[in-house]
């Protein structure tokens, strides 16, 4: 197997995630796109770990998974709070700080 096939697959996933974060209005869908980005990073970490025959890549992939779980928990709490206060999770309507 070539290293590049994994890295290019991860790049495609990463860019699709970036597209989702920028184009989506629904806060839930933005959180899902962030998951796509984090998974692309994990593929890269494990692939480079396999390339260098080092266990560090897999260890840091596990750390990323833990951080992603924490991020989803906090993100969903914020989305719930937003829904409770504004009856909507449309990100284009959350512009109170806009000058």
């Amino acid at each position: 197997m070539l290293l590049n096939q994994f890295l290019l697959l991860a790049a495609v996933l990463f860019c699709l995630g970036v597209y989702g974060v920028l184009a989506r209005k629904n806060a839930m869908l933005v959180l899902m796109s962030i998951e796509l980005i984090l998974n692309a990073v994990n593929i890269n970490l494990v692939a480079f770990g396999a390339l260098n025959d080092d266990v560090g890549g897999a260890v840091f992939a596990l750390f990323t998974i833990a951080v992603a779980a924490a991020e989803v928990g906090i993100g969903l709490a914020i989305v719930l709070l937003m829904y409770r206060n504004r009856r909507s999770i449309d990100l284009t309507q959350v512009d109170l700080l806009k000058g």
Partner: protein, 177 residues
């Protein structure tokens, strides 16, 4: 680029089954990821996300990181997606087709994504042209755990504190007063 293609076809002759499966799963993952970011239905997006996450677990198996693959299935498909579905249920996040994104915003996002991909693809192909991955045997879980609990013990403890903080934070943010 030509060196990469030559190396890919040589690799294809050596590892036929691996390459066919990799191609099929990669195509499925890319299609599913595309659906995640384009479908109008939030529940469908969560279910397509399951396909992408399972594909990532399969890629971890290809790379010999079986413990990471199992953790991926447990944490992502078992917990994160369920959390997403609960979030959709609690916010009643517009189940139907409402995704009326301004087409201008969508075009700009697509341009950013394509540009980012071209830059990354160019530099990846240029740097790691035909670097070969030699995966003889899966990484042993014993080695991984030894490493976590010796060399990486400080980041590991930091991650546990982070998880605790996130747990308390989520409760504080989401509870009703």
């Amino acid at each position: 680029m030509s060196a990469l293609l030559a190396a890919a076809s040589a690799d294809m002759d050596l590892y036929v089954a691996q390459n066919i499966f990799f191609g099929v799963i990669a195509a499925l993952m890319i299609y599913a990821a595309f659906r995640v970011v384009t479908t109008a239905n939030v529940v469908h997006a969560a279910l397509w996300l399951v396909v992408v996450l399972s594909g990532v677990a399969v890629q971890f198996i290809f790379l010999g990181a079986e413990f990471v693959a199992v953790t991926q299935v447990l944490v992502y498909i078992g917990a994160v997606v369920v959390l997403f579905l609960f979030g959709v249920m609690l916010t009643r996040a517009s189940m139907g087709a409402d995704e009326s994104v301004a087409s201008e915003k969508r075009t700009m996002a697509a341009i950013v994504g394509v540009l980012l991909f071209s830059v990354m693809a160019f530099s990846l192909i240029h740097t790691f042209e035909d670097t070969r991955l030699v995966i003889d045997e899966p990484q042993s879980t014993a080695l991984l755990s030894d490493s976590i609990f010796s060399q990486y013990i400080v980041p590991f403890e930091a991650v546990s504190v982070l998880l605790l903080a996130a747990l308390i934070g989520a409760i504080v943010v989401a509870r009703r007063d």
